[in-house]
């Protein structure tokens, strides 16, 4: 059986990879996927603590986070499609209208 520490370490590594993806990639789609990865790392923590404490509240909240992630993907992808229609690009470096 996995120890709680190993679960937390793997979840932390997943979250770090997600942060790195948001910071270093230029493609808006990959950035959205990295955000999903971070939400999944949080879910992993929820489930590990639910398993540890023996209550199902963490699993219920993980389910809520999953629904929230689905809503976020829907809005994010709609934004990407609208951006592509208007500016003809999905690279975040090219979106500098508000740059001072």
């Amino acid at each position: 059986m996995a120890s709680l520490n190993s679960v937390l370490l793997i979840s932390f590594a997943l979250f770090s990879i997600g942060v790195a993806g948001v910071l270093i990639r230029r493609n808006a789609l990959v950035i959205l996927m990295s955000v999903e990865l971070m939400l999944n790392a949080a879910n992993l923590n929820f489930i590990a603590f639910a398993r540890h404490s023996g209550s199902a509240s963490g699993q219920a909240f993980a389910l809520l986070v999953m629904g929230f992630a689905a809503a976020e993907v829907a809005v994010g992808l709609a934004l990407v499609v609208a951006l592509y229609r208007r500016r003809d690009t999905v690279q975040v470096d090219d979106i500098n209208l508000l740059k001072g």
């Binding site: 120890s3 789609l29 398993r51 404490s53 199902a56 509240s57 229609r85």
Partner: protein, 186 residues
């Protein structure tokens, strides 16, 4: 052989976790967006395996349904819509952000700070006792047919209000996505 299978069963979480990490790293590192989406799918399936090995069967199956069935397909759809037509002339552009070196250094420094702060709590001899998953406490989550019952009890008895708020959020996201993605003149 039996010994091997037994140790495999004991370390199922670690195997799935490392697979998830590999898929995530591949997702961030791969050049083409389609490869990125496929690596994302692999990482999400591995995370579902992690959920299953932590005895959250309902959530593992829900993860497979929601991510592999919905979100990855949506991502692939948008990638096909957006990337393919422009792929030829965009190919020579850089994959990573112009300031990616600074960002990478910042992330690694953050990881180092985390490890330094929590080193004692995680590995040190002073770590508190309750750091192993305790099966005798998780008896309510133990059996597959009871897991969905436990989750639904948490969802519909204890956290009914967040659940209803989530349904409103999903409705708003639906309407917002339609408004954002529809063409200009309708």
């Amino acid at each position: 052989m039996e010994h091997l299978l037994e140790s495999l069963g004991r370390n199922m979480f670690g195997i799935f976790g490392l697979m998830a990490l590999g898929g995530a790293a591949l997702m961030v590192a791969s050049k083409s967006a389609v490869h990125s989406v496929l690596a994302f799918l692999f990482a999400m399936l591995s995370v579902a395996g992690c959920f299953l090995s932590l005895e959250a069967e309902f959530l593992g199956v829900a993860q497979i349904l929601v991510y592999a069935g919905g979100i990855v397909v949506l991502f692939l759809f948008v990638v096909m819509l957006v990337e393919i037509s422009k792929f030829k002339q965009k190919e020579q552009q850089a994959v990573f952000h112009s300031q990616s070196r600074i960002a990478l250094v910042a992330v690694i420094a953050g990881i180092g700070a985390f490890a330094g702060i929590f080193r004692n709590a995680l590995f040190g001899p002073t770590s508190p006792e309750a750091l192993v998953l305790r099966p005798e406490l998780a008896r309510g989550l133990d059996v597959a047919k009871q897991n969905a019952q436990a989750v639904s009890r948490g969802l519909f008895a204890d956290y009914l209000l967040p659940f209803e708020i989530l349904s409103v959020i999903l409705l708003v996201a639906l309407v917002g996505a339609v408004v954002l993605a529809k063409s200009e003149r309708v």
